[in-house]
Every structure is written in C-alpha cells, then in structure tokens.
C-alpha cells in the first residue's frame, strides 16, 4: 500500500464507538466545521439521525467471510460496493467517513482495505477513531466485548462527556483504556469538541508514517483550546493508575540490534497465522541484518502489510520492536519467539 499514487487515494476514516458514546455528534462536528473539504458519509440506520451533508449513503453493514483459507478474514461487502459506486463521483468529494453501528467490530472494515484490490486502488484507510463515553465506558468494558474491541482497535480514542465525571473517574477510565491500548492517541472532550486535525488525516495505516511505536501517555486536553500541548512535556503522567485488563492486552517486545530475516519472516507469519484470530492489531519496526533501511509492518488479525521504509539514520540506534494488541495473547511465546529472531 505504499506506491506513489498513495497520495491520490481517497482517505477513509472509520468512526466507531459503543451505543450512545457520541459518534453522530463527532460526525456532525466534522461536517459542520469550516474546513472546505467535502465528505462522503457512510452511515447505518439511514435516515434516523439528521446529518446535514450532500453525500450520505446508507449501508447495511454486511460482513462477508472470504473463502481464502484465512479463518478470521471477513470484509464489509457493502463497503466494497459503496466505494466502487462513489468512484463514479470522483472529484466531487475529498474524503470518506464510515460510521459503524455501536455493536460493530472494526476489523472487517479494516480488512476490506487489505483484501479488496479495487478498494485498495481507490481509497486508503486513514484511521479508526473510537468515541468512548467517559461515564459508561468502564462498565461497557466489563459487559460488552464489542466496546473492548473498539478500544483495542483504535488509532484515536476520544473520551467524550468528560463533564459528567469527576477528575478521579476520568483518570480511572483513561487508565482502563491504556491497559487495553497504550498506543492510540487519547483526547478528552465534551460534545466531541476535538480538533479535527486530531481525528482526520492521521495516516495511521500508512507504513511510511510508522516512525516510532511508543505508548502515548500524554492525554491532550482538547477542551482547553488556549493551551497548546507540544508533546515534549509530560504532565498527566503522574497519578496514572495502572490496570491490567483480564482478556485484552498489548505485548511489546524490543530487541536490541538486528534480526535475521530468515528467522523473522517465518516467525511473524507463524504468529499471525496461529494467534491471528486473537490479534486485533500489530505493528513493528525492524532492523533487518544487512539492510540499511528500516522494515516496517502492520497488520489486522491474520493480515500483514510490510515494506522497507527509510534508511536508519547514522545516529539512530538499530533496534527492532514489535507490538501486538489482542485477546488472551500468548505473551511468553511472542516474546521468546521474537527474541530468537536476533541476527
């Protein structure tokens, strides 16, 4: 997905979030801001909620299994058809926003961009944005696996309705989120009042943009617009509670130095085949022995996309890092397996 025409492809932002978290609020916020961009919006429950936009397409959220030997490979059949149809209106819109239902699993949407060649040619997945309800998320993480999936899968998480909780409760919910997904960028909001730049044009699935994969401990307080956070100072670090989620975790392994491609390639392939149904997202930056360039990859369940990226800088430490987010991951197996790939 890193050919030169990448820039011409229509970016697709996926909005997820449990019922009532504020997806439609965010959608209307995006559409009403004076950004000069034209959006095609794919919504469910068509006609139920007022969305003031020229191009609104109702979708049926048809999740199809693919007969390609990949047991967790599902795609959104309706999305393939809609993107094909939207290409007939090429030039009349700049980006696509897909709003999923509150109970939707984001994986089939993302996998559609890995699997379907025509979709890949026309569009690129920009980011999965999850809206979470500050008051109710903790409870949903206990009783709704869908809500947990949406948090685990996200590139961007908006904690909405922060005015309804105390600072202590807010820290609590942030810690719960971090226990599942420490890598997404997290934003606090009331009525989804986030900066659009934090939600759109994230290029979260663009291999060229995977520069580092560090946990994002900084929480940008977007409702405080006078206060510009450059990500250099760490203010909300202290007092962050640490939780361990019982079934959804992230596993990060760092290897100091190079890996042997003859060991690494079969290993990553085996891990994603064997644990793929449990792996929601994975990413890595790897120093391949003898290769002056960084190898980067990312994946969804059993699907992987990888490429050589820029060269390692002279002052840059050649180290290799992989990150997995998933359910009941076999952490020791992943850790030992990756470390055994050392060159």
């Amino acid at each position: 997905m890193t050919e030169s025409r990448e820039a011409e492809k229509i970016p697709v932002t996926v909005l997820t979030g449990y019922l009532g978290a504020g997806k439609t609020t965010l959608l209307n916020r995006i559409l009403s801001e004076p950004h000069g961009k034209r959006y095609a919006v794919v919504v469910n429950e068509f006609g139920e909620i007022g969305i003031d936009n020229e191009l609104v397409i109702g979708a049926d959220e048809e999740v199809f299994e693919m007969n390609n030997g990949c047991i967790c490979c599902t795609v959104r059949g309706d999305l393939i058809r809609i993107i094909e149809g939207l290409m007939k209106r090429k030039g009349r819109f700049d980006a696509i926003i897909v709003e999923t239902t509150g109970l939707a699993d984001p994986a089939p949407v993302a996998q559609t961009f890995f699997v379907d060649e025509d979709v890949q040619k026309a569009a690129r997945l920009d980011a999965v944005v999850t809206v979470a309800d500050a008051k109710w998320l903790a409870a949903r993480l206990r009783d709704a696996p869908e809500a947990k999936n949406q948090i685990a899968f996200a590139d961007v998480i908006i904690i909405n309705k922060t005015d309804l909780v105390t600072p202590g409760e807010l820290r609590e919910v942030e810690a719960r989120i971090r226990a599942i997904n420490p890598y997404a960028s997290l934003h606090r909001a009331n009525k989804c009042d986030v900066k659009l730049a934090d939600v759109l044009e994230r290029r979260a699935f663009d291999l060229d943009r995977i520069l580092d994969i560090e946990p994002d401990f900084l929480v940008a307080e977007d409702h405080d617009h006078d206060h510009d956070h450059d990500h250099g100072h760490s203010h909300s670090h202290h007092g962050l509670k640490h939780y361990h989620d019982e079934d959804m975790q992230s596993v990060a392994v760092v290897l100091d130095g190079d890996v042997d491609p003859a060991k690494f390639m079969p290993w990553i392939s085996r891990v994603t085949q064997e644990q793929g149904p449990n792996i929601l997202r994975c990413k890595g930056i790897v120093a391949m022995k003898g290769d002056p360039k960084r190898f980067v990859f990312q994946g969804v369940h059993m699907m992987l996309d990888g490429d050589s990226q820029r060269e390692w800088k002279p002052d840059e430490r050649r180290e290799s890092k992989v990150v997995f987010i998933g359910r009941n991951l076999e952490e020791e197996d992943i850790r030992k397996g990756f470390l055994a790939c050392a060159a």
């Binding site: 109702g58 199809f64 693919m66 149809g85 060649e117």
Partner: protein, 333 residues
C-alpha cells in the same frame, strides 16, 4: 512462404469521441452509438450529431446495460431510466434516496435492484418486488421465460416474478457479483469477490468452479454461437468452453490477448469468433479465438478501458475509458 510479422492496426480507423466523464457503458441503441457516463449524462447519436441526454441530473450513473434497442441506466439518485434510439429518456423507476446497484433487460422486461430490494417490470408495466437475503449485486434474465437470476452473498437465487413462493437458490459460499446465462439457457455463471467464477448447469444444479484469476472478473461476454464465455480479470482474456454438455468442466480455458496489463473489459463480436479486449492501461485490441491473432484498435494510455459495445452487424465498435476518453471504430470493408 513465411510472412514477416507486422503490426496490424485499425487505430487509423478510430474516431475519437470526447465523453468528458467516466464511461460506464457503451452500446449501439437503435443503431445509434451511445455512451452512458458517470456524470449522469448519456451521449447518443452519430459522431458530429451527438446529443447529451441528462438522464440522471446532478447524479451519477452507477450501472447501464443495453439490448440494442434500449439503454437502461441506474443512478445514485435511485432512478432507472430507459433511453431509445430517439434519444429520449423515460423514467422507469424511482427508488428515492437509494442507489441502483444492478440492472437486467430483455425484450421489454426490466429489472433493477437497490440494496436487497429487487424489482422486475414486465412488458405490461407490472412491477413486482422481492427482497434478497443480502444486497443483490447482479441480475440477469433467463433467456426463456420470465425468470431472473439475482446474485447475493452465498449464492444466486432464481426468481419467477409472476410466481408466489420463495425462489430457488443455488448455494455457493462467498460473495457473488455479476451474473450471466449462456444464450441457450443451460448454464448460469457468476463472478465472485474471491477472484473466481462460479457456474451451475441448471438441469442438475451441478457446480463448476473457474478459478485462477489474479483479480476480480467484472466483464463477461458470450460468443454469438454460445460456445465460449470471454472474461476479464487476468492478464489475458480468459475464454471458457461451454459447447459440451459438461461446459468447461475438466477443460482448460483459452487465453486471448496475453499482455502485461489486466484485462478490464471483453466483448465478443456478434457474428464471428473475435473478441474486443480492453485493458487497464487503455489498450484495446481485437483477438481471433481460432489463432489468437491480434489487431490493435487503441494504443495504451489514459487509464482503464471501462466500456465496449458492438453494433448488431459487428461492423462498428464503440468504447470508452474511465478517464472520459472514448472512440468509435468503423471496421473497414
């Protein structure tokens, strides 16, 4: 005697047409060349006297087909329009606020689908509807009788619009896209999301798998004698033999026009075993099935060939590209 290989070309006989928008379908309608365009217009008439008919104002034509008498267009405005050689558009249906995803047309009967809802209109104008189990992706009228094939997820349903009761469903796992019947009505073939074709022999519902495509097949065309089915989706037109009672079972397909570019559109000549083959790089050629001899019609450039249509006699070919370029070939003598 040996012949020196020479580049055979008909490119000098091609008359360029400026369509101005992606060409969704190309056909001869009542003898007049016609192009259905993504910007909602239909360009119809002989070169120099073309009319632009705004069949779907402020909307896009998503799909269009023709039987030589009528051009049927389906738009993202929910409308189905029929245009004849007189260049007048008639609204056939208006499914407000929805997209028309698929169309079928035969002898004055029309069919269209919007999401799961499939509608069929007979010669007398009576419309009946049926709800498919999932979104209907492709429609095709059976050559005889008033019966419609509807593709969907995990199979194809055969619906008699005039008969109460559930349609017969031919099941096959996966998402089925376009559908076509062999001209003799013995076989039904669907293209699939999984880069394959699936066929059924209708007499006994026997399954036929046609695999090996690197991409999706979105264009299928039967030879005039019904013995061959040409298909897109590979770096050649893949042509399956259907003459025998078992169809293509156990037989290898022919490959026509092998190149290093994906075939996007195929159209068999209406009277000869020659196929027009359009590619993703804009090249268009004619290929004779018997010996794979090729004649160039259009050199590469401009993007994928998106539409092809022959006139009834096979003397003229009209084509269009995604880029909005188009052309008209008058076969010499």
């Amino acid at each position: 005697m040996t012949e020196a290989p020479q580049a055979t070309t008909l490119a000098q006989h091609v008359r360029p047409l400026e369509a101005g928008a992606e060409v969704v379908a190309a056909a001869f309608v009542g003898g007049a060349p016609a192009l259905a365009l993504a910007d909602g217009a239909v360009l119809i008439g002989e070169p120099d006297e073309q009319k632009r008919v705004f069949a779907h104002p402020d909307a896009a034509i998503l799909t269009a087909i023709s039987d030589g008498k009528t051009l049927l267009t389906g738009g993202d405005d929910g409308r189905v329009a029929a245009i004849g050689g007189d260049a007048v558009a008639h609204t056939i249906a208006d499914e407000k606020g929805r997209w028309i995803d698929a169309l079928a047309l035969r002898g004055g009967s029309y069919a269209w689908s919007a999401g799961k809802q499939v509608s069929a209109r007979d010669e007398n104008g009576t419309v009946r509807t049926w709800s498919a189990p999932t979104t209907a992706r492709g429609l095709a009228f059976q050559p005889k009788g008033y019966r419609l094939a509807v593709t969907h997820y995990n199979g194809v349903s055969l619906w008699f619009p005039k008969v109460e009761g559930p349609p017969q469903t031919l099941e096959w796992k996966g998402a089925h896209l376009d559908a076509t019947f062999s001209p003799d009505g013995r076989f039904l073939v669907s293209s699939m999301q999984e880069n394959a074709l699936h066929g059924w022999r209708l007499a006994d519902s026997r399954n036929m798998r046609m695999t090996g495509y690197p991409g999706k097949t979105r264009s299928m065309s039967w030879s005039h004698d019904g013995a061959w089915l040409a298909t897109s989706g590979a770096e050649a037109a893949i042509v399956w033999p259907f003459k025998d009672k078992d169809g293509p079972m156990g037989k290898a397909p022919r490959e026509c026009g092998v190149r290093e570019a994906r075939v996007t559109k195929v159209a068999f000549h209406p009277r000869a075993l020659v196929a027009a083959i359009g590619y993703a790089d804009g090249l268009l050629l004619l290929c004779r099935l018997a010996d794979a001899a090729e004649i160039l019609v259009r050199s590469p450039g401009g993007g994928p060939v998106s539409a092809l249509g022959w006139d009834a006699a096979g003397a003229r070919l009209i084509f269009g590209l995604e880029s909005g370029e188009a052309g008209f070939l008058n076969l010499p003598g």
